[in-house]
């Protein structure tokens, strides 16, 4: 699992990285460091379809914190996989209410990563965030 991460920590990390080459290298390395996905992750039901890349996502209860969720994600694109790892790190260990109030788009906008979150197909990351929120809503309602 990727380390858990807050939006503040993410923005600090990005500030420490000087130019965009380094930032992309950081994202790429995050993608590389993700442990191999469990085979069931790649089931069709877990696929969040993007036009340019595929993202798979599953959610499960977080054993370390009652009431919280944790996520596992993968992508066929290494940059999207790295960004998915960031999103997993940001959302895992949070309760549904915390997930639903996390201002991740604003943060990505500040980091100039918003282009990856387009919900109009694109990378699939925008759809991944929406699915995490749907799961959070469904969990909260259950």
């Amino acid at each position: 699992m990727p380390p858990s991460l807050t939006l503040d920590e993410l923005e600090e990390n990005f500030d420490l990285l000087g130019d965009w080459d380094e930032r992309y290298q950081y994202i790429i390395d995050l993608g590389r460091k993700l442990p191999p996905a469990p085979p069931a992750l790649h089931d069709e039901a877990n696929l969040v379809r993007g036009c340019q890349s595929k993202v798979w996502l599953i959610a499960e209860p977080d054993a370390a914190r009652p009431g919280a969720l944790k996520f596992v994600a993968d992508s066929d694109s290494i940059i999207v996989k790295g960004l998915a790892a960031l999103l997993v790190g940001l959302h895992s260990g949070l309760t549904p209410a915390e997930i639903l109030s996390l201002p991740v788009e604003e943060s990505f906008e500040r980091l100039d990563l918003k282009k990856f979150l387009s919900t109009n197909r694109g990378s699939g990351l925008g759809a991944m965030i929406q699915r995490m929120r749907q799961i959070a809503s469904a969990t909260a309602a259950a």
Binding site: W20, D21, Y24, I28, C51, Q52, S53, I78, I79, S123
Partner: protein, 422 residues
């Protein structure tokens, strides 16, 4: 309306020596703008081309000088705006060598032009069991309208395959033609592979079985200069924004007798002859198909963009693009692990490729940071991607303002992306 382009300077290029690409570039203000802090290398003109200031000035001049709604205006500005709009239609007709301006219907884009044919012609003239043939390399715009027509009428949609080099498989295509074939709807140039289809031969074969023929000229028009009468096309679709013109306007060419056989596509102002509560009669083509206030300034911009292209000469623009395609093909082929999709002998200036072990999106994202704009993904041609057996490709496309230096920047950008990703 015509605004002269900057006059070509002399003697800069080697093999196309009257074509001064730097002078062309100077007419496109956006090309001087950096992207992500880097010098812009714009290689996505097949998605939408950039705009010359002469085109922008023509639209601005209308709005600042004598803009008014067209048709039935009694006052001077309306009459002049109407004249400009009509002249734009005649200009588009001349660009594709239509026999008469009345054979040009302005639409929002080529997609709307194809939908217009599918609805107004298809639902009137086709019935269950009639067949439409498309090719395996169509854009979704030349697939989905026919699928919708199939749902509405029960027509049969047949797909002519392509060969490994991306050219149309003529043997199979010609066997698909039969007396039930009512329409062959095919791209004139693939937006993914660059393949230019043998339009004249396709039209002749289609006509021989009594079918009509439609060409999606979205890509070809800017790279080849279409001649609808030489092809003997029944329908031909183009879009202004790929021709250095504005967004929001395109055109459907259709032979006059065919247009006259088609009922309206949408109802409203401008498309009627007389309206009463009991019965409304419709205007003659092309107005019959242009309900509501049209894109007036865009039509004038469209015409100005065509004037701009012709001020440099289509032949010279094409020679320039052919040269770039050759340079790019040679340069990219030298990159280890790079596969080019589409190597048909007749090919326009787009080049789709993948690099072994690298995801197209990752490459595109890293090129973006170097100021290089390419398109990655499925290019609105999912069935073609399935046929090619790839999820997505990277596509670089060249325009009248592209340069050999930009090809080199792309190749170096790809090497850098590979280094970061492997």
């Amino acid at each position: 309306m015509s605004i002269p382009a900057s006059s070509p300077a002399t003697g800069v290029q080697q093999s196309n020596d009257h074509y001064d690409v730097e002078a062309v570039r100077a007419d496109f203000p956006i090309l001087a703008k950096p992207m992500n802090g880097k010098k812009l290398v714009f290689l996505d003109s097949a998605a939408s081309a950039q705009k010359p200031r002469q085109m922008l000035a023509a639209m601005q001049a209308l709005y600042e000088d004598h803009y008014a709604n067209i048709h039935r205006g009694i006052y001077d500005f309306s009459v002049r705006s109407t004249d400009d709009y009509d002249a734009a239609r005649a200009r588009v007709a001349r660009f594709i060598n239509a026999g008469h301006p009345g054979e040009i219907v302005f639409t929002r884009n080529a997609t709307e032009a194809m939908n217009l044919v599918a609805v107004a012609w298809g639902r009137t003239h086709l019935k269950a069991g009639d067949e439409i043939i498309v090719s395996a390399m169509e854009h979704h715009a030349n697939i989905v309208p026919w699928q919708m027509l199939r749902e509405a009428t029960g027509i049969v949609l047949r797909v002519a395959p392509i060969k490994p080099d991306g050219s149309l498989d003529w043997d199979v295509f010609s066997k698909l033609l039969n007396e039930r074939t009512k329409l062959v709807a095919m791209t004139h140039m693939s937006n993914v592979l660059g393949t230019i289809t043998p339009a004249k031969e396709i039209a002749r074969a289609a006509h021989a079985v009594g079918a009509k023929v439609l060409f999606d000229g979205s890509q070809f028009a800017v790279h080849g200069g279409a001649d609808v009468r030489a092809i003997d096309a029944d329908f031909y679709t183009i879009t202004a924004h790929k021709l250095y013109g504005p967004n929001g306007i395109g055109a459907l060419y259709a032979k006059r007798d065919i247009l006259e056989s088609m009922p309206p596509y949408q109802g409203g102002g401008d498309m009627i002859e007389r309206v009463t509560w009991e019965k409304t009669t419709y205007a003659a083509p092309p107005n019959r198909f242009e309900a509501g206030t049209p894109a007036i300034a865009e039509a004038i911009g469209f015409a100005a963009a065509l004037d701009y292209m012709e001020s440099w000469g289509l032949e010279r623009i094409m020679a320039h693009e052919r040269e770039l395609l050759e340079i790019a093909t040679a340069r990219l082929s030298a990159i280890p692990g790079l596969t080019i999709y589409g190597t048909a002998p007749q090919k326009g200036a787009v080049i789709s490729f993948t690099i072994d072990g690298l995801h197209a999106l990752d490459v595109g994202a890293l090129l973006d940071r170097q100021g290089i704009a390419v398109r990655v993904g499925q290019h609105c041609a999912e069935p073609l991607m399935d046929f090619l057996g790839v999820h997505s490709t990277i596509r670089a496309s060249f325009a009248m303002y592209s340069t050999a230096d930009e090809v080199e920047a792309l190749a170096e950008g790809l090497e850098k992306a590979r280094k970061m990703l492997s």
